[in-house]
Amino acid sequence: MDTSGMNLTYTLSAKTKKILQVLIAVGLILTIWGILKHSQTDIQKQRIWSNIWVNIMFFFGISLLATFFYAVQYAAEAAWAVAYKRIMESVMKFLPIGAILVFVYCLLGVLGVHHTWKWLDSAAVTADKVLQNKSAFLNPGMFLGMTAVFLIAYVAYQRWTCKVSIDIDNGGDGTQMWKTNRTRAAGFLVFFGFTSVVGSWFWFMSIDAHWFSTLFGWYVFAGQWIGAIITFNLIGLHLKSKGQGEFLNDSHQHDMGKWMFAVSFLWTYLWFSQFMLIWYANLPEEVSYYQARWDDYRCMLWTMFFVNFALPMIMLMSRDAKRNRTFIFIVGCIIFFSHWVDTYLLVMPGTLGAEGHIGLMEIGMFLASTGGFAWFTLSQLAKAPLLVKNHPYLQETLHFHI
């Protein structure tokens, strides 16, 4: 296929900018309004912090899992996704910023600025035998040290692979670099596979410091993965709406739709496995986690679960639905928000108890972060041609047909 006639330069148009500006402005106004509406008690202050953490982790998770999915394409020798390569890279480029935000937030927790993790408060640990037993793992040094090591390694791979991608465009040996990339992708996947589990223990599971679940890491992983897949989808659809991205054909769209469908099922499977086994055995030390969500967040818990499960199952089952761009857009946006709620439920009951609820502040902060994230991602997309050059699978992806 000839790509010379295609416009491969994306520019963030005035209209898109305006939409995103409005989104960010409305988000910020709602956030400030939501904050000022309440008197500044300790729990209200923590509510602001917890919300910040939800949004940091949601978008950091998307860029991290974008990097994971990108590496998987190399390790699995997949050609179809090469057409999405630049879109993936634009999402991955948020990773350094996300990593800094994660680290700063953790550091502020250690410094006692916020109280997201109870076990960082030495007075609370002295009074709590369970936390004392865990202190060999749950301590500030281990927390910051592991967080830093994980983040530095993730960012190092992401920056390297994004840089190489541009180098190849400018006349590098695509086939040779593909091989190097494949080896490094495998290395990253192994590192990611072991550390993402530990990361999820620190960043999410230890918020409910007494509670534990061996499946937890994989469940968090699946939720973030679906976020990344939807982001790729939405950016692809945005390009199409601008009349660009001619190289993304219906088969590419179909495959991305399949991934949305499949990862939604994976997430549901893992959510259900964890929930069902804990509910079934009904042991006090385990069931407390769901009891807290059941008592105070029941409506959100079940809505989130059924939206994330039933919606993709019913809406994306058929082949035609996966090729219908409007359909993918609507379903994608709903699941995207619903997985934000999933992240919200990971954080809130443990930090706010029964006090958390979705109000102006939550909606506002979500809108503002989504707007900011979209702005950043799209301006990264504008920095490089939309299609890679010199890639050994380029012709295969351009001729992709299922």
């Binding site: 037993n133 679940s213 061996t214 499946l215 890491g217 099922f265 499977y269 086994l277 050994p392 299922i402």
Partner: protein
């Protein structure tokens, strides 16, 4: 128009034509078996017969003939059941998931992998029906109409879910396997010269004519079955894991069990596919089709699933300490340092460490190494189930009931018998069924055949 990148390695070696493929794959069916086939077949049948004898002994005597006791109520029976069910998973993964992922390399291996699934589930069924103690009453495992009796099955029990899961799995796998065989049976039918074999293959091929309409329906049905089988890859072993995980036995009740059992099942299944295919390609001269590249891909799946199992082992170990639950912590301490430490050590070495050798390209492309490691992995996965079942049970909550478990020769005989049965069936399969999906394989010949790839590359240079 499809296009395949030049850097992809060929999946059919040398220069083959469509006719060559038919000839190569029909040869074992139409010709006579060599002496190695008879030798292996005799050994397999002897083991099988021995196993049947031990089964009858068990039925006549009761399961007191086994080593299981009051504390260790499940032992070799369930270990072997889970082991065989797990092995079956690779067949479903190859036929369903790899079809959905459009992996062309699946075409040379899916037929034998699916056959392996069916035979493995049959072996598993023996243990699970026997372990009830009175197998003639096993029809009570199914929910009957209430008029039949007042006792109904317990729908809250994962053991019942297992009955449904495994029987669904078996039926879908059988249908999938058979559907795939129909066009190939028709090819054998069209070539048959003896009236008897022509007649048999005529019945087996369901009047397949090879019309475009037949192929459309064939492809649609394959996709639907792949869609149905993919959740089965997950559900069957998840439910098997729930047989343990829904209980409150330390070491059993852990949330990671469902996905970790699935990963482990695929892991051991691929190892068994490798063991079988390495023999098949040699004995039936199929080196052109089942290539080193196929083995390399399977070895990569083994690294992946082996590492996932590794993450799960370490997560469990860590959380047993992190949870602060002393029973849980002791269960793991006992696994690693108790009287059955050797089975834990064997599991860790065979399942987590040995697959890491495949990071070296030399090892993952060596057929000898692959053959040895595939057996090592299956030993390791057997140990895993033994560790989970026996080590967790033998020291329960009341130290006065702590005991050891030793298998009797009857149990060993039944296990050997299932291995014999597995190979007996597989060897028969290899003689009367086309072991490679020959008609499907032909669809990739011009794209992934070595000589055609070279030709295309030569064209691209001009």
């Amino acid at each position: 128009m499809q296009h395949e990148s030049a850097i992809r390695e060929p999946l059919i070696l040398g220069h083959r034509t469509y006719h060559d493929i038919t000839e190569d794959i029909a040869r074992p069916i139409e010709g006579r078996a060599n002496k190695y086939w008879y030798l292996v077949f005799t050994i397999a049948v002897c083991a099988f017969t021995w196993g049947i004898g031990c089964l009858f002994y068990t039925i006549g005597t009761g399961i007191g003939a086994w080593g299981a006791n009051k504390t260790v109520g499940w032992a070799w029976d369930i270990t072997n059941f889970v082991w065989w069910i797990g092995i079956g998973h690779a067949g479903t993964l190859i036929s369903a998931v790899l079809l959905l992922f459009r992996q062309k390399w699946r075409m040379a291996i899916n037929r034998s992998a699916e056959a392996m699934t069916i035979f493995a589930v049959m072996c598993a069924a023996i243990f699970v029906t026997m372990h009830t103690g009175r197998p003639w009453l096993d029809y009570w495992l199914f929910p009957h109409a209430n008029q039949f009796g007042s006792l109904w099955v317990n729908f809250n029990s994962p053991l019942l879910w297992d009955v449904f899961a495994v029987s669904t799995y078996f039926s879908i796998s059988l249908v999938f396997w058979y559907t795939g065989l129909i066009p190939d049976f028709a090819t054998i039918r069209d070539r048959a010269v003896k009236p008897m074999s022509k007649y048999i293959y005529k019945i087996l091929s369901f009047g397949w004519s090879g019309r475009a309409k037949d192929w459309t329906r064939f492809e649609e049905v394959s996709l639907v079955l792949a869609g149905l089988s993919t959740p089965l890859v997950f559900s069957v072993h998840s439910i098997v894991s729930m047989d343990f995980a829904t209980s409150i036995v330390p070491g059993w009740h852990t949330t990671i069990f469902p996905p970790y059992f699935v990963a482990g099942a695929i892991f051991s299944g691929f190892a068994m596919v490798e063991t079988l295919l390495l023999i098949v390609r040699k004995v039936l001269n199929l080196e052109h089709y089942i290539t080193v590249k196929h083995m390399e891909y399977m070895n990569i799946v083994i690294i992946l699933t082996g590492s996932m199992v590794g993450v799960a082992y370490l997560s469990e170990l860590f959380i047993s300490w992190y949870s602060g639950v002393e029973y849980e912590a002791y269960a793991f301490l006992n696994r690693a340092t108790g009287p059955y430490w050797w089975s834990y050590a064997g599991m860790m070495t065979c399942n987590v460490i040995s697959p890491q050798l495949y990071w070296f390209k030399k090892i993952r492309t060596s057929l000898t190494a692959t053959f040895i490691l595939s057996i090592v992995v299956n030993i390791g996965m057997w140990f895993e189930r033994f560790v989970i079942i026996v080590t967790s049970l033998h020291r329960d909550y009341i130290p006065s009931s702590w005991t050891m478990y030793h298998p009797t020769w009857i149990e060993i005989g039944i296990f050997t018998g299932t291995i014999g049965m597995f190979f007996t069936f597989f060897l028969l399969f290899a003689r009367v069924f086309p072991v490679i999906a020959l008609n499907e394989l032909k669809t990739i010949l011009k794209i992934s055949g070595e000589s055609y790839k070279k030709e295309a590359a030569a064209h691209a240079h001009h």
